[in-house]
Amino acid sequence: MSREKDTTYEVPIGPIHPALKEPFLIKFKLKGEEIVDAEPFPGMNHRGIEFMGMHRNPMEVIPLSERICGICSIVHQHMFTTATEHALSIEPTNRARYIRTIMCELERIHSHILWAGVAAHEIGFDTHLHFTWKIREKVMDLLEYIAGNRVNYSMWTFGGVRRDITEEMYPKIFETLEYYENLYEKLEEIFLEDPSIKLRTRGVGVLTKKDALELCGVGPTVRASGVKKDVRIDQPYAAYGDLDLDYVIPSRYGFENKGDVFCKTVVRLKELLQSVDIIKKCVEQMPEGEITSEPKKAALLNKLGKSAGEGIGRIEAPRGEAIHYVRLSEERDDVDCWKIRASTYNNLSTYAPMFMGEQIADIPLIAASIDPCIGCMDRAEIIDINRGEVQSYTKEELHELSVKKTKQITKGGVE
């Protein structure tokens, strides 16, 4: 490496934060303030949760699987259960399918609102963070009312669900949905029409449609670029086949499919409204019947120990498509093989084109735009190759830089 010619700096960001499902490291190459290259390095922290699962029987793995992620606990529970159902050819009952759909969509609402708060925090609007997290409490209360706990719902079982949504619960569900419908206009005004937020999000972190397709991104990240990709429509699971859904892409609502942070906000906010519609339809169309096709748990446990097979569970998580693979064997009572592929893993590779040509102050916002649980931004280091000096940025300093940029753009008008 010739010291005279190369004037780029290298900035590693990451890798570990306890709150993160998939800790990762990104190494940035900088020319002054501008990012010229970004390379993500996943696999920095291995929790061994799959290994733990392979030493437990499938019934024990259900509560374990929902602890993979604090936000997507329903998602992982659903995937593991459907993968095992696929392996054993168990069919869930119709009523269970609808209850599963309702729970999945409730989780999508709370995840997207949470993301909006995180994005506002990275821009420097902590008031919006507190506002969005306050309105999120309403859906958390509803989840607690249905499932019994605020997080880790323990709802799923093989062949159905463990708790019913009865008619006494309908008024509270409709009340919550109405609350979000009334509030939606305000959210849109805050996140899509506020001049300061528009300045920070428009044209920042652009992912073109070509890149999105080539890098196999998933979820709202690529839908913002105009890619029509949604497991709920492409390969319907639970009760999504009965519902009339359409892809949420910005051009449907009069925006350009640019793939920047602004478009990602549009997609997430519109999906909020879509989720409210889906839950309404599900509650109205809910069929009568049993909530599980395997009511005898002891017999089911015996069956799980003796059967062999392999299965796949897919879901459209709030962050995009995720997959579980499960294999059971006759010799062992425990799960023989368990493999998880979560959505952030795909979306990590879309970082490279998104960061290109942006500034250091935009790193927190762009990194948050794929919704990776941004807590990973623990530490960043700038290595001056010319002088051999090391300069580090903590997460707080990076955040401060980002807030400073917002102030500069708006000429000190926004606090």
Binding site: P63, F131, G148, N149, N152, K186, K297, L301
Partner: protein, 133 residues
């Protein structure tokens, strides 16, 4: 420029707080004194928040109806249930994840959830934290 942001911010100042209040406004200097004051009704505390209808709290174990089939031990993901030699199970509350699979699988309904959620103890094997020791 008056935006929705500023309007919301001002409105937030006058709305009800979203978080659940702590039992007392400020941390008392001495917990024993505070507890005595509460007993004498001289210190008002904010009552705990109501639990939801299907709440999964501390387990209640009915030793009389237990038949020792060990099904609950097989489905417990955190090894919180340990089989004893006298054909009953010991339950370690500090290991429990409150998934409720033992409640579902028990053929004689010996396990039951209660609404109790205050389960702090001075040590891991505190007498309240082990059922059927």
């Amino acid at each position: 420029m008056p935006t929705q942001t500023i309007y919301t911010l001002i409105k937030q100042l006058f709305t009800k707080k979203a978080t659940n209040p702590f039992p007392v406004k400020y941390t008392p200097e001495n917990m024993h004194d505070a507890a005595e004051l509460i007993e004498k009704d001289e210190l008002e505390i904010n009552p705990p928040v109501d639990v939801p209808p299907n709440f999964r709290g501390k387990l209640k174990y009915d030793i009389e109806s237990c038949i020792g089939c060990q099904l609950c031990v097989k489905v417990c993901p955190s090894q919180a249930l340990v089989f004893k030699e006298d054909n009953t199970v010991r339950h370690y509350v500090n290991r429990c994840t409150f998934c409720g699979q033992c409640v579902d699988i028990c053929p004689t309904d010996s396990f039951e959830f209660t609404d109790e959620f205050l389960m702090a103890g001075p040590e891991k094997l505190y007498e309240d934290l082990v059922l059927n020791p």
